[in-house]
């Protein structure tokens, strides 16, 4: 029978043990660096975005208005994320609470949350909602920008006249000469506003000049051209007494996408608009 194996622990082998330790340390280092280099074992980065879908409220006489802003949060990543309210105020805005307060959005889902917001409508600078907090699976929190926040201006358009983003007056006399309706536009708060389009009852009215920029409290006269025939849009709904205006708060200095988005506000022009449209587009030929 063969003699069993005997481990040789002679003092002369200390050098070998040291070399094994060094090899182990080297492997440890390679593993550490390699993990960072090849992202081994690291979770796929979260991919989430937020956008304003609805703005409710704003009517009243106070300069600071309370509104409900509905937000949609999409998660196109592979791990769930959670959304919390911002830690700070935005520019002229403050998110007081979210409902639900800790929204969890699973991968490939759209989550919805309502934000209770106060707006300083009288502020001459663009309004901007503060970033939400996005909590990742490891508990880390990152800022999540709210896109489409320009829509909050729609709430200010329902507030008192002095803090609305846009005001208008019509002059029937000035419209008589060339058939166009002269509308004087102004920005009561002095906030810089681009007027992009004007519609009546869903029908675009050609503007002259084609784009209007309001800066400060000076007003600009815009001449509107009526449709050449009575549009089918008005046949059942009636002849408009108000126009809807697409506008945008000045985005020139801000590259954030949300600053680029606009709002649509309604301006009541009253019987002056209705009479003009009846005369130019829908004359009664009885």
């Amino acid at each position: 029978m063969r003699r069993p194996m005997v481990i040789n622990l002679a003092p002369g082998n200390n050098r070998r043990a040291l070399s094994f330790v060094l090899i182990g340390l080297l492997s440890l280092t390679v593993g550490y660096i390699g993990q960072g280099f090849w992202d081994v074992g690291r979770p796929t980065p979260a991919a989430a975005s937020a956008i304003v879908t609805d703005v409710v409220g704003g009517a009243g006489s106070r300069k600071s208005v309370r509104i409900l802003v509905s937000l949609a949060i999409t998660n196109t990543g592979t791990a769930p994320v959670q959304v919390f309210k911002p830690e700070s105020r935005g520019d002229g805005t403050e998110i007081l609470a979210l409902t639900p307060s800790d929204l969890r959005v699973d991968p490939d889902r759209i989550g919805r949350v309502d934000a209770d917001v106060t707006l300083d409508c009288d502020r001459p600078e663009p309004l901007q909602l503060a970033d939400l907090q996005l909590q990742l699976t490891d508990g880390a929190r990152r800022p999540l920008q709210i896109n489409g926040a320009g829509m909050v201006l729609e709430a200010c358009s329902r507030a008192s006249t002095a803090v609305r983003p846009l005001a208008a007056t019509t002059s029937v006399k000035s419209s008589a000469d060339d058939g166009r309706l002269a509308v004087r536009l102004s920005s009561p708060t002095g906030r810089a506003i681009d007027v992009l389009a004007v519609r009546a009852g869903g029908v675009d009215l050609a503007m002259s000049p084609t784009t209007v920029t309001l800066a400060g409290k000076s007003s600009v006269v815009v001449r509107l051209t009526a449709p050449t025939a009575c549009p089918t849009q008005w046949r059942v709904t009636g002849i408009p007494s108000a126009v809807t205006v697409d506008l945008r708060s000045d985005p020139a200095t801000d590259l954030r996408a949300s600053a680029d988005s606009g709002a649509t506000v309604r301006l009541r022009l009253g019987s002056g608009l209705t009479s003009w449209l009846l005369d130019r587009s829908c004359p009664e030929r009885g």
């Binding site: 029978m1 003699r3 040789n8 989430a48 956008i51």
Partner: protein, 358 residues
């Protein structure tokens, strides 16, 4: 028990030897353990990867109106409109926009553009013999698609898939370029299927984009109104006057002093519901929410004439609602009393405006 004797002269087995020459097993084990532990430590200590922010879009209702330019098919019952709804062809042509919001992105590429051909004519201008008096009302909803691109690179969108507008899914081709860090808007008119038999459905939408454009496609977040259980048609019902599915067209409408005389061919004298006062019929007629002071002249063999007595009520002073161009009559139908919408046209609007300036 017999214990086997060891052969003390035999050579020893190769030791597993710490560092014994010949075997790579222990060396490999140490390397792998080192790599694994190193990776674990690295994973635990390295900072979390920052999240990315993909493009996002929302869909909302911009306008709602009724297209009543087609006659009601003769086979259809007047009470049950059959709205065979399709996605508007205009929508497919409409979707050409760039990320420049001041130009084409916000321009409405639909029939609402100024100077576009429109089908409506004033009731009083229409030839009575050529105009059908019963019409098919088709709901048209103009949806606004807003896309935000938080990424640095441009995003080109090629199609929008819409569910819940009609009974089947609709694919609207797009050609929408959204520059990096910018947004774009486009308006899409659709004709929802609001036929009575259709089960209401919430609207869902998904965008597809060019491969390599930063995203292959992503879901669109509809506004609250679009995800209501009643779907698009409940929005149309809430914004349009009752009876929009099967409106009647007034045969004639003319101003007579401060009165407006409206002839409604479709209604016979048996069908108008109202009150008899001193032997004279007082039909129940609404313009918007206003009950009008009305009398009717009903003569056998002639179309009934409604005389709307002036001075007319100025419709909702201070309101931004449109001034009505339609009346609602109450008529007996299906064993009960139903409102019927009558399109009168600009003659009615002018009449309602008569007293507003005073």
């Amino acid at each position: 028990m017999t214990v086997p004797a060891w052969d003390l002269d035999a050579p020893a087995e190769t030791p597993l030897a710490v560092g014994g020459g010949g075997s790579l097993g222990p060396l490999l084990a140490i390397c792998l353990a080192g790599l694994g532990v190193g990776g674990l430590v690295g994973s635990a200590l390295s900072p979390t990867t920052a999240p990315s922010f993909p493009p996002i879009a929302t869909l909302s209702i911009r306008e709602v109106y009724v297209d009543a330019s087609e006659p009601l098919p003769p086979t259809s019952s007047s009470a049950a409109a059959t709205n065979t709804a399709t996605t508007s062809a205009a929508a497919t042509n409409a979707a050409s926009a760039t990320s420049n919001p001041t130009a084409s992105a916000l321009g409405n590429p639909t029939a609402s553009a100024p100077g576009s051909t429109v089908g409506a004519t004033s009731a009083s201008t229409a030839s009575p013999t050529a105009q059908p008096t019963a019409l098919k009302g088709q709901a048209v909803v103009v949806l606004r698609l807003q896309v935000e691109n938080p990424a640095a690179g441009p995003l080109r969108l090629t199609a929008l898939r819409l569910d819940g507008v009609t009974s089947s899914s609709n694919l609207l081709p797009l050609d929408l370029l959204v520059a990096g860090h910018r947004s774009a808007q486009i308006d899409l008119p659709v004709r929802p299927d609001c036929s009575p038999g259709r089960k209401p459905a919430a609207v869902r939408a998904r965008l597809t984009s060019l491969p390599g454009s930063g995203s292959d496609g992503f879901g669109v977040a509809p506004s609250r109104a679009l995800i209501q259980p009643g779907g698009l048609c409940s929005q149309v019902d809430s914004q349009m006057p009752n009876g929009w599915r099967t409106p009647l067209l007034a045969y004639d409408a003319r101003l007579d002093g401060i009165d407006l005389e409206v002839t409604v061919d479709e209604l016979s004298e048996e069908k108008v519901v109202g009150l008899l006062v001193d032997g004279q019929l007082q039909p129940t007629v609404f313009a918007g929410e206003e009950l009008l002071n009305t009398t009717a002249r009903l003569e056998r063999g002639e179309a009934p004439r409604l005389r709307l007595r002036g001075p007319p009520p100025c419709p909702q002073p201070g309101s931004s609602a449109p001034v009505p161009s339609t009346l609602r009559l109450l008529v007996p139908e299906d064993g009960g009393i139903q409102p019927r919408l009558v399109i009168v046209g600009s003659a009615l609007t002018q009449w309602l405006q008569l007293d507003c300036g005073r």
